[in-house]
């Protein structure tokens, strides 16, 4: 059976977590492309500048990051015009256990799921099954 695939954008200030996400995506064989960003603002610029083909793109977004954190990223992302946001699904992934943060993140329309760190291929394959 061939897996359903999507483009992936990883946003995490930890190089190790980016590396792990990258390797797991490759191992699970669910990514048509992978772009990693250590700075949330660079990821946002990348999304703004990409020609939107409305292909499914999953953003794996870390929450606690210096300067622009996941919540700031989501606020900025949701201000973008709809034609830019089309096809994007945001998955927050974090080691944080803070309830207030979690609830705030769930309140963003573009967030489809919250995943606990470390990422596992099982969790990612399950995620792909949930995306229409």
């Amino acid at each position: 059976m061939s897996n359903k695939k999507a483009n992936f954008i990883i946003v995490d200030d930890s190089e190790l977590d980016c590396f792990i996400a990258d390797k797991i995506l490759k191992y699970a064989d669910i990514a048509t492309s992978i772009s990693s960003f250590l700075h949330a603002s660079n990821a946002l610029d990348y999304i703004k500048q990409s020609a939107n083909t409305a292909e499914t793109t999953i953003v794996l977004l870390d929450i606690v990051m210096p300067v622009m954190n996941g919540i700031n990223f989501l606020e900025e992302f949701e201000k973008l015009p709809e034609e830019v946001r089309r096809g994007y699904h945001i998955v927050a992934f974090t080691s944080s256990m803070n309830k207030k943060d979690m609830n705030r993140i769930k309140s963003f329309k573009s967030v489809i799921k919250l995943l606990d760190k470390p990422l596992t291929s099982e969790a990612l394959i399950e995620l792909m099954g949930e995306i229409k």
Binding site: I20, K23, V64, P66
Partner: protein
């Protein structure tokens, strides 16, 4: 005692005021008011009044009414009523409702007043100690909240990274991938270790006693250079130190080490990677009763809008390199304990200057 206890006495009979003042002014600073509005004025101007005596029977309002009224405005002074037996019902009620601490019967004797003052003052001191402890406790609670928040990110974060790395390693076949990952895992372990060390610093600053001794600056600097030697070489950063000292410097050595170590660590961390000439200037000047330390680097600098926040617990202004958000908070708190201070100025992209002042004890 360095300063006399301030006491306010309110009575509509001028003779009583004069008599009271004459009897106690040697040992206490006595302020007097002939009516309650004058009393309020005096209380507003003298927030350090510790004890208030008030007569019960006054034309504009009773002493009990007055105390009831000012209780929420001036909660700290201890309230004592002076009254005759005929008002005893009012007094009992007022004591039971907590408006007054005790009462002195009229006509009073000096010893009645003196013992009232003594008891009231003990009570005042106990209350103020409690207020100070409460404030410290509140601060500790607030920081505990921040800790609980940070623990999930700063401790669980690196751990979950390492755990993820171990999981991924099972699927990695390329040895260079494994080596790359081990390097990244090593950084996570270092980050966790640094966090725990800073936490220890934090505890030392918060709970440690100040121990003043003569500071041997050149020894301190040698230790500092040794501590950062490998790091300086690896990061290709030059550290220049100048000490000018015209008098012995007395301070807390642990605080001095913590401050210098944190500032130098930051100056190494936040360099411009592509800069060929990475420099840190450390100047220490001791003279005229204090030491001034400048740590100047030509690194990435700090955005102006973050300059006020960099000393906050767990605040991080940069994504460059690892940081716990502990360092500068510990520095500021440690300096506060020595009545010292820290200032920062920076031009983004050109570097930062930290200026520390520490009084010579």
């Amino acid at each position: 005692m360095s300063e006399k206890i301030k006491i306010l006495y309110i009575d509509d009979e001028l003779n009583n005021l004069v008599g009271f003042k004459a009897s106690f002014r040697l040992n206490y600073q006595i302020l007097v008011a002939v009516n309650t509005s004058e009393a309020v004025e005096i209380l507003t101007k003298n927030p350090d009044i510790r004890i208030i005596f008030s007569d019960q029977r006054m034309p504009d309002k009773t002493g009990v009414e007055f105390f009831e009224e000012i209780r929420s405005w001036f909660p700290h002074p201890i309230r004592i009523l002076i009254t005759g037996y005929s008002d005893i019902e009012d007094v009992i009620q007022a004591i039971n409702r907590g408006h007054i601490f005790r009462y002195v019967k009229k006509p009073w004797s000096d010893s009645d007043i003196l013992s009232a003052i003594e008891e009231a003052h003990k009570f005042y001191l106990a209350n103020s100690m409690l207020a100070i402890k409460n404030e410290a406790l509140q601060k500790a609670y607030d920081e505990l909240d921040k800790f609980a928040y940070s623990v999930s990110h700063d401790i669980r974060g690196p751990l979950s990274g390492i755990m993820g790395g171990i999981n991924v390693a099972k699927h990695l076949n390329d040895i260079s991938d494994i080596k790359e990952m081990l390097g990244l895992m090593e950084n996570s372990v270092k980050k966790l270790d640094a966090f725990i060390l800073s936490m220890h610093d934090y505890y030392t600053v918060q709970r440690g006693e100040v121990r003043i001794k003569e500071i041997n600056l050149s020894e301190l600097i040698n230790d500092l250079k040794e501590l950062h030697h490998a790091n300086l070489i690896e990061s290709n950063v030059k550290l220049n130190v100048n000490i000018s000292q015209i008098e012995p410097f007395w301070s807390d050595e642990i605080v001095m080490r913590l401050v210098l170590n944190n500032l130098v660590t930051n100056a190494i961390k936040y360099q411009k990677h592509d800069n060929e000439d990475k420099r840190i200037e450390l100047n220490i000047e001791v003279g005229r009763g204090h030491a001034t330390i400048y740590v100047r680097d030509n690194g990435i600098g700090i955005p102006e809008n973050y300059l006020n926040e960099i000393f906050d617990l767990f605040f991080r202004a940069s994504t460059q390199d690892v940081g716990s958000g502990f360092g500068l908070y510990n520095v500021k708190d440690a300096l506060l304990k020595l009545n010292g201070g820290i200032k920062v100025s920076s031009v983004l992209g050109e570097g930062a200057v930290f200026e520390v002042t520490i009084p010579n004890k």
